[in-house]
Symmetry: D3
C-alpha cells in the first residue's frame, strides 16, 4: 500500500473542469490528485516562418509553474530572464507529443499554442500537462470545425501520458511528489488511443534499471493510459466524436 | 445603465476562495466579475540584503498574467527574457501599497512575498491584485501569529483598491475592460480601512480632466473601497480580528 | 522655512539653455535648482508598427541618469542588461504626459522621441524631465512647421509638471532630494496650460494621507505649474506662439 | 544495405585520440563516422553551493556545436544570448548519465565538468558525447587517483550510449544524419558496462511505434553499447583498470 | 586647408569646465571642437574581487553616448540589453590607458571609476574621453590626498590622447567626424607627459598604409599630445602639482 | 635564448591542415606552436541589411575559445548570456583585417563569415586567427570561383598577422602565453603580402614604450609576417594563384 492509500496500479483522483477560461478556444483545468494544471489552447491563423506557404499547420506548447505551485517558492523565470533547462525540456516534449496525433496538413495554415500553467504541483506535472493539453486541443479543434470545413478531421487519435517508477522494488503507477523523489527509476510514457508509444523516457540516475523492470513499467503505463483515455473520452463527449474519423 | 447592467456606483460580483493552494502560508482566489487573480503569500525567514541586521521585515510583490488571460494571447515575459514596464509598474505598486499597512518592525526579520497571477483579465487586474493580496497577507500573518508571539500585531489596518473612471461624462466605479478602454480618464485608488489614501493614480492621456471630475472619482472610490473592506472582513472572519489591534 | 531657504510655495531656481545640442531637432538643458536634465527631441519620419498606415504620429520618451548624477554612483542599466522598474515607470509617464497635448493626427506619420538624460539629480527628476521635454518638443515641432505645412498645429496646449509633498505637517512645493526622502507623502502632478490635470500620482507608502492633505497638495501643484508654464512661454518666445492655435 | 554501405547492426567507424588537449585533466577527440566531438574533463576542487559541506562531489556537463559543424551554419548561442532548448536537454542528459556511474561520496568535494564541443556533426552527437565524455572522465579520475588516495575508486562502471531507429520498417543501429532525418522513430539509449539501462529516450513524433519495435530497438542498442564499451576498455588500457573495483 | 579652416597640425578648440558635477570626487566637461564629453571620477573604498587583500587599487572606465550625441539618433545600449563591441573596446582602452600612469600600490585598496558620457560627438570621442578622464582622475586623487596621507603620490605622470589620420595624402591632426569618415587611415595615440607611448592603434581597413605614413602620423600625434598636456597642466593648476613627484 | 629554445626572431612551429571540415566552403586547422585554431569560411548568398541592393559583399568574423582551451577553464559566453569585451574586440579586428584585402564590389552580394574557434591557446590566438582565416577565406573564394565567373578576382592580396613584444629589454617575435604575460609591451601587427600595414596595435599598460622600441618591434613583425605569407602561399598552392591578379 502506498503513502496515500493507493494500490500500485491505481491512478490518483482525476478531475477536469472544461472551459474555465472565457477567451481561449479550448481550455481545461485538469487535476491528478493535488497536481493542478490550467491548459489553454489558442488558435492563431498564422504559422511560424519555417512553415510559411506549405499549407500545413503547427502545434506548439509552453509550460510554466506559478512560483508557489511547490512546497518552497520558486523564482519566476521571467525574473531570471530565461527559461530553465527543465522548462524547455518539458515544453518541447508536450509540443512533440501533441503533434504526433495531429494531421498538420489537415489542420491547414494555422498554429495552435497549448499553454500549460501549473497552479499546484504534486508530481507528474509534465504528464498531466500532456493529458490536459490533449483535451484543450480537442475542444479548440472541435470549435474550429464549426467554422472551418475540414476535408479531414485534423485530430487523428486520442493521447495521454502518465509516469511510472520503481520504488523499493515495486513498479508504481502515477507517482506523487514524495514517491517521485524516492524512486530509483522514473519513467514518463505518452501513448495514443490506439495503444502506440509516442514517447518513452526512462531515467535511472540514482540507479540503473534492468530490462525486466523496464517491461513492467511499460505494462503499468499502458494500463494507466488506457484508463486516462477513457476518462478523456467521457469528458469530451460530443467534442471528441470525430477524433480519428475520416469525413465521408 | 452600464453595458453589463450595473449602476454607476456598483461593484462587480465579488467572490473569494480562501486557501486554494495547499503549500502557501496564505492564499486566495479573488474574482471581481470576470477578473480572476490567484494571490499567494509566502513567508521567508530572511530579509533582502539592504535590510539585514535591522530587525525589520519586508513585503514585496510579483505580478504576472497567464498568456491567455486576455482576449488575444500575450507572449510570456519569461520568453521575452524581461519584464515589461507595465508589469514592473504594477508589482511596485502592489508592494508599496501593502507595506503601508504593515509594521515592518513588528513583523521582524522576515519577508512576505505576494504573488499575484492573473488567471483571467477583464479590467482592474492591478486593483483586484491589491485587494486579494491583502487577504492572502492577512491569512499568512494570522498563521504566523500561531507560532510567533508578536509583541505588536504587524498588520495595522485593512487595505483595498478599486478603479474609477469617466466615461461619456459619467464617473463610474470598478471599470471592466470594455469600459476601461473607452474611458477618457482612468484612476486607481488604494485606501486603508481607516479611510486614508495610500495611492491615487489618475491618468488622462486621452483627455485631461478637471478638479471637479477628480473629486467625483475620489468620492466614488472611497465608497467602493469601504464596501470592499467590509467584504474582506467577512471573508477573513477570525483571521482578521487582530488587524490594527495592539496586543494587551 | 525650508533647508535651502525657500518658502513652502516657492519653486527652485529655474533655468533653461535652448538648443545645446547641434544635431537634435529640439533640445534644452533644464535646471530646477541642482537637478539638471538634458532633453532632446528627435523627429523620425516613421511610426511604430502598431500605427503604420493610420496617418497618425507618435510621441515616445526615454529616461536615464548618468551614473554619477547622484550622491553615490549607480550602475548603468546598459551594464545590468535591463531597465529597472523605476526607469520604465518614469519613461512611460513622460511619453503619456506629452501625448496628451499633441494631436497625433495633425502630426502625421512621424515619431518624435524625447530623450531625458539626467546629468545631476537633486529630487524631481521626472517632473523636470516632463517640463523640459515639453520645451524640446515645442522647438522640434516649431522647426518641423517650417518645412511641413500642418493643416492644424499639432501642439494643442502647454504642459508642465511639479512635485508636491507633505513634510512635518506642511505641504511643500517642488521638493529637493533631502525633502523628498523625508516627506510622508510624495505627489507628482502634470497639468496643461488650460489648467487641466493630465497625471496625478500620490503615494503615501510611509504614511497614508487624508482628503484634506490631497486637496492642499493639488492647489500647490496648480499654482506651481502655472508659474512653470509662464516660464516655458517666455523661453520659447516665437517658437511657442502657435501652440493650441488653429491655423486659418 | 544502408546508404553508407553498413549493415543494420553495424556501428560507424569508431576512433579516439587520447589527450589532444595539453591543459585538461582528461580529454579525448572521439569520432563516430563523420561525427567528431572534443570532450574535456576539468577537475575543480569545489562543489556547487547546494552540495557544500556534504563531503560529496559533482559531475556536470556542457554541450555546444561549432557554428559550421553542420551543413548550414548555425548562429552561436553566445550571440543569441541564451542556450536553446536542444542544448539544455542534451547537456542535462550527459551530466545525468555520467553521474549514474560515479560514486559522488567516493569522489569527495570536487566537481568534474565535461565539455563536449562538436567539431563536426553527422547524427548521434549526443550519444557520441556521452561515450566520449566517459573516456575523458575516466582519464581525469585516473590522473586524480595518482595524487588523491581514494578509499573507494569513484568510477563504479563503464558507460556508453548509442542511437537506434526504425527506417522503412527496419531497426537500424547508430543512425547518421541522413538516416536520422528520415527515421520514423528515434531512440537514444545509455547503458552501463554491467548491461543496465541508465536512459531510454524514444520519440515517435512522426509516427508512434509499437511494443515490438521498441523491443527490437532496445536489443540493437544493447548489442551496440556492448561493442562500444569494449572499444572504450581498449582505448583506456591501464587508465580503465580500476573502474568498478573496490580498493583492498 | 581643412574644411573647418584648421592647418594640418592644428588642434580643435580645447575647453574644460572643472567640477561641473556636485557629487563626483573629480569631474570635468571637456570640449574638443564640437565633441563634448562629461567625465566623472568616483572613488570607492573597495577593489574588485580579483584584487582583494593585495593592498593594490584599481582604475576602471565606462563609456557611453547619449542617444542624440550624433547626427542620427542611436538606440540606447540599456534598451538593447547589452553593450556593443565598439563601446567595450573604447572603455577597455580608457581604463588601460589610465592605469599606465597610476601606481596602484600607492593608491591602496580603492577603485576609481571614470565615467565618460559623450553629450555631443564630432569625431575623436575616445581620445577626448582619455584626455578628459585624466583631468577628472587628477582632481579626484588630489582631493583624496587631502584626507589620505599617500606615502607616494599615486599619479606618476600626465596622460593625453589624440587621433591622427591620412586624408588625400596629407597627415592630419585631431580629425573631426567628417574627416574621420573620409580618411584612409585612422590612428589613435595615447602618450605620457614624459613622451612615452601607452597605446598606438592604427587601422587601414579602407587602404593599408606604409611605414613612412605611420612615422608621419606618430610625429603629428607626439606634437599634439605635447600641447594637450600643457593645457591639462594649466587647467589643473595646484591640483596637478604633485603628479609624478615623490613625497619627501 | 627563450624559454622554449627559440631565437628572438624565430616563429613557433607553423602547421596547417586544409579542409578538416566536410561542410564549410573553406576550412583550416592552424597551429602556431601549441596555439590551435579551427577556422571555417561560410559563404552565404545574402548581405546584411545595411548593404542590401548595393551590389557589394561583406566579410565578417566570429571568435570563440573552447572552455578548456586555457590552463584554467573559462565559463562559456553562451552561458554568461553575452560576449565579453575581449571577444568582441578580437572579432571586430579579424573582420576589419580581412576586409582590407577583399574587393567587396568584385565579391558581389554575398557574405563570407569566418569562424575562429580556439581549440587550444598558448598566446597569439588573435594573430593566429587572422593568419588562419585568410587561408580559409582563400579556399572559399577559390571554390566559389569555380561556379561564379568573377570579372575581377575578389582577393586582392595576401594577409597575415603576428605578435611582437619587449621582454627584459629584448624585442621578441611571436610570443607564447608565458612570454606574453611577462612582456612590458605587447603589439599585434597585421600586414599584406605587399608589405603594407593594415593594423598596428601596441599597448604598454604595464610600462609605456619609446619610439625606438616601437620601431624595433615593427621591423620584427614585418620580417615574421613575410615568412608567414610564404607559408600561406605554399599551403594554398593552386588555390592561391589568382590572389591579387586581374583577370584578362
Amino acid at each position: 500500500m502506498r503513502s496515500d492509500g493507493r494500490q500500485a496500479r491505481e491512478l490518483r483522483t482525476f478531475a477536469v473542469t472544461l472551459q474555465p477560461n472565457k477567451y481561449a478556444e479550448g481550455s481545461v483545468l485538469i487535476e491528478m490528485g493535488d497536481t493542478k494544471v490550467m491548459c489553454t489552447a489558442t488558435v492563431d491563423e498564422k504559422v511560424p516562418p519555417f512553415l510559411k506557404g506549405q499549407g500545413k499547420g503547427w502545434i506548439t506548447a509552453e509550460y510554466s509553474m506559478l512560483p508557489r505551485a511547490t512546497q518552497t517558492r520558486n523564482q519566476r523565470e521571467s525574473i531570471k530572464g530565461k527559461l530553465g533547462g527543465r522548462t524547455m525540456e518539458i515544453q518541447r516534449l508536450i509540443g512533440r507529443a501533441l503533434r504526433s496525433i495531429v494531421d498538420l496538413q489537415a489542420l491547414g495554415e494555422r498554429t495552435i499554442t497549448l499553454d500549460c500553467d501549473v497552479l499546484q504541483a504534486d508530481g507528474g506535472t509534465r504528464t498531466t500537462s500532456i493529458t490536459g493539453s490533449f483535451i484543450a486541443l480537442a475542444l479548440a479543434i472541435h470549435k474550429l470545425s464549426q467554422t472551418v470545413k475540414f476535408a479531414k478531421y485534423p485530430l487523428t487519435d486520442y493521447l495521454a501520458s502518465i509516469s511510472v517508477g520503481v520504488l523499493q522494488g515495486n513498479a508504481l503507477l502515477d507517482l506523487n511528489y514524495e514517491e517521485d523523489s524516492k524512486a530509483k527509476v522514473d519513467m514518463n510514457v505518452v501513448m495514443t488511443g490506439a495503444g502506440a508509444f509516442v514517447e518513452v523516457q526512462g531515467t535511472g540516475e540514482e540507479s540503473p534499471f534492468s530490462r525486466a523492470e523496464l517491461s513492467e513499467m511499460l505494462e503499468l503505463a499502458e494500463e494507466g493510459i488506457g484508463r486516462l483515455i477513457a476518462l478523456q473520452r467521457d469528458a469530451l463527449g460530443e467534442a471528441g466524436k470525430r477524433i480519428g474519423v475520416f469525413q465521408a
